[in-house]
Subunit: 168 residues, 2 copies
């Protein structure tokens, strides 16, 4: 299930990439600067849209690194446009695509560290379930919610993406 | 991992229950009718807070039913107060707590049906990863985002709850 969980993270990031396109089209239709959306937030003490996208990407990226021991590429957090956010997602997806199934060996018991929790760890399985998955969806949904609140024409299908049902 | 995934759903619902208490306290502090929060939404065509809580509960409940074959209790969707939403969460947690580990046997390949997709199915593992998990977090976060936008004093720690780090 670990491979499927990260395949789903990739799928969600690809969905987010398409959501960015909808934001772009909305800004063109309404003739406003897309930067207005990028700097939006739902509360004054919440990260803005750009930061939510960056953290969604990083949650997936660092979860791979923590659970496999593979070093994650460093990104600068300097995106200021939709085009640059597309690139951020693209670079993240590229990294995720390089992880081979055998890289996950022993992930359940691997000790994952958190720079804010010195001297502490979580076993990989607890880190994934209690931290990585809820955090990833937290920032995905914060990004979605900011655009939704600002009138971008989004629905749950944009968020979930295509689900390949099978014939009974 | 299936048992842990549903334990996490229960944990998130318990966190949501505490978030409801924060909403209650905020309404008392600011002296407004808590119903104002319950009927809030981030966009006019989004479900309101009450419905988000109901669906978060139901996503967990129906996922159990679909993956184990155990019949889920029916709830009426008639909550109109915070007290009733507490009860909804409580009843859902009670149902989730009755599921024994052996009930999950064969969940990965169990054919899950969707009333909106006649003649189609998803194998249990694909249903869990592509549908149940992202949907659960979608409605959890929609509920969180609605309160956050309305000024309730919430942070990610309220959402994630206590994570039991271990000593290295």
């Amino acid at each position: 299930m670990i491979v499927e969980t990260f395949a789903q993270f990739s799928k969600m990031l690809a969905n987010l990439d398409k959501i960015l396109e909808k934001a772009q089209k909305f800004s063109e239709l309404k003739k406003f600067d897309a930067a207005n959306l990028l700097n939006s937030r739902l509360a004054p003490d919440q990260f803005n849209f750009i930061r939510q996208v960056q953290i969604a990407c990083d949650t997936a990226k660092f979860a791979v690194a923590k659970l496999t021991g593979i070093e994650a590429p460093k990104f600068e957090d300097n995106e200021t446009t939709l085009a640059e956010l597309h690139q951020r997602i693209s670079k993240t997806l590229e990294f995720l695509s390089t992880i081979k199934p055998e890289a996950w060996k022993g992930w359940e018991t691997r000790k994952t560290l958190n720079p804010r929790k010195e001297g502490k760890y979580l076993p990989g399985d607890e880190f994934l379930t209690q931290h990585a998955v809820p955090n990833f969806y937290f920032h995905m949904n914060a990004a979605y919610g900011i655009l939704r609140h600002n009138g971008v024409d989004l629905g749950k299908m944009d968020y979930l993406g295509v689900i390949t049902y099978r014939d009974l």
